[in-house]
């Protein structure tokens, strides 16, 4: 479990996160959603320690990450896997070497054991055949999957994904979402996804935090989000005419369904 306690972050005079508290639950896919510039990425970077917070605490299973010594932070970081928006694969290495990199750096065991683990991870993301290719030779979706394989190769306790669906077609997006959801359940990971993709929200949002102008505006699950009365959240979710119509139709269907049930009860 990751807890954010009264996080504050700003750049010069500009305050990005005035005061945010949230809990990211273990074994669930936790989503941070919001419009561009709402502070999602800054919040995630504060969580993983890429940006120091101005005030507040980030707790990893109760341990205060913000005030740790550097060697203690390293220990926590070795339990973190992260999928970046642009995949952040190392250009000079093959897919296999990319996934092998964390194992080479921190993993114990023989080369054969490491290779077996790499192949397991590549098989898990369905990319075994691309092992010898370079990042420049594979598609965007494949790069994301390699990024996931690299993130899970050390069996992390915490998985962070920064906009995992950006630049992908809907089918591949769905594939990535399913994969992340399966991995979260399989390894009981605390997964945190930063997204503004509504498919991801509906498919895998076990726990959702909606950010608006640097503040936590709404919190709930994908089951509650459609019925939320929060105006700002509704503006975000039902941004298009199509979705607004779909929502009205769905509400109308539910209303008719309720009337029909009441009628049956009366009869």
């Amino acid at each position: 479990m990751i807890e954010l306690v009264n996080i504050k972050k700003g750049f010069g005079d500009k305050i990005i996160l005035p005061d945010v508290s949230a809990v990211m639950e273990t074994g669930k896919v936790n989503l941070i959603i919001g419009t561009s510039g709402s502070g999602k990425t800054v919040m995630m970077k504060c969580m993983v320690g890429l940006m120091p917070v101005d005030a507040g605490k980030v707790l990893y299973d109760g341990k205060d990450f913000t005030n740790m010594q550097e060697h203690e932070k390293k220990e926590i970081r070795q339990q973190i896997g992260m999928l970046f928006q642009g995949s952040a694969l190392f250009d000079s290495m093959t897919v296999e070497q990319n996934v092998m990199f964390p194992l080479d750096m921190f993993g114990k065991g023989t080369l054969r054991e490491k290779k077996t683990r790499v192949m397991e991870c590549l098989e898990r993301v369905n990319l075994k055949e691309a092992a010898k290719k370079y990042p420049a030779e594979i598609s965007g979706g494949m790069k994301k999957r390699v990024g996931i394989a690299r993130a899970i190769v050390l069996n992390p306790k915490y998985l962070f994904c920064d906009e995992p669906n950006s630049g992908l077609d809907p089918q591949t997006s769905l594939l990535i979402d399913k994969l992340i959801k399966e991995l979260t359940l399989e390894y009981n990971i605390t997964t945190v996804i930063n997204t503004h993709d509504m498919n991801t929200v509906m498919e895998s949002g076990d726990h959702i935090v909606y950010m608006y102008q640097g503040r936590k505006q709404w919190e709930g699950s994908n089951k509650d989000i459609v019925f939320s009365k929060d105006e700002k959240l509704n503006d975000f979710i039902f941004a298009s005419e199509f979705l607004r119509d779909a929502k009205e139709m769905r509400q109308m269907e539910m209303f008719q369904d309720q009337n029909w049930r009441n009628q049956i009860k009366k009869d």
């Binding site: 320690g49 390293k74 970081r77 070795q78 992260m82 642009g86 750096m105 921190f106």
Partner: protein, 267 residues
């Protein structure tokens, strides 16, 4: 333009610009020192560090050998021709040409000219490599894994430069002197025997020490300054280009400044 008074305007501009220039200089110098301090930590994995170090040795040493070879040969050849052109007195023996060529190449041309060229070749490569890694979040990916990126990415570059650049300068010295001999022979200026006689006249081993000392100082500049610029890139492709240019310009200016300072102090 009745109010245009250079005696007033120029100092006024300088008065307003100086605090900004001063601040920027101290800001960059401080960050540079902090970067150097951050490199000194125990490598996470010695085998990976060694692999990276060897890769850099190949990149810097073997990768720059071609250009050093061409520059040195022509540098020696042109020096012989120009000295012969200026030493027209029949009282001065021909072997003096070789003596002047030897000292000019060892003291100045081999270390300084070669390092100026290497600042362009190696410096821009280092700055753009690190800049690209920063922009594409590869450095962030390594930080999150718990790797000290300054130690893993910058330290091997500086170490490799400190070993390979003095070697390249030694080779440049030999090739320059050899090029001078061949140019003298081909131009009918002096025979090979006269040239070798000149090379042995009043040889001072201290000059070799001075050249090698200079090469170590320049090697440090060539690797560390572009590393600083590349590591701290913010933005995109345009900023990588700017960082690369700044790295080369600052490295060249520092090399020339240190060249003067070392000559003033050690000769």
């Amino acid at each position: 333009m009745s109010g245009w008074r250079p005696g007033y305007v120029v100092p006024t501009i300088f008065r307003y610009l100086w605090p900004v220039m001063e601040f920027r200089f101290f800001h960059h110098f401080g960050s540079y020192l902090l970067m150097l301090k951050g490199m000194f930590s125990r490598p996470e994995n010695m085998r990976m560090f060694w692999r990276e170090f060897m890769r850099q040795c190949v990149d810097i040493g073997i990768g720059s050998f071609g250009i050093v070879f061409i520059i040195s040969l022509f540098m020696g050849g042109v020096t012989t021709l120009q000295i012969a052109y200026q030493l027209v007195s029949p009282l001065i023996p021909k072997s003096t040409i070789a003596q002047v060529v030897r000292d000019t190449i060892i003291l100045e041309f081999a270390p300084t000219l070669t390092c100026i060229v290497l600042a362009g070749v190696v410096g821009s490569k280092i700055a753009s490599e690190l800049g690209n890694m920063r922009v594409s979040e590869q450095i962030d990916a390594q930080e999150i894994m718990g790797i000290n990126t300054k130690g893993y990415l910058i330290m091997p570059k500086i170490m490799a430069a400190l070993i390979m650049i003095p070697c390249l300068i030694c080779i440049a010295g030999f090739l320059g002197i050899w090029g001078g001999e061949k140019a003298g022979e081909l131009g009918g200026i002096l025979s090979s025997d006269q040239y070798w006689q000149g090379l042995r006249q009043e040889f001072r081993a201290y000059n070799i020490f001075f050249a090698l000392f200079k090469s170590f100082v320049f090697a440090f500049i060539i690797a560390s300054v572009p590393s600083y610029y590349g590591y701290n890139v913010e933005g995109g492709a345009l900023e990588i280009g700017k960082a690369s240019t700044s790295a080369v310009v600052v490295s060249c200016v520092l090399i020339l400044f240190m060249d003067y300072l070392l000559a003033a102090l050690l000769l």
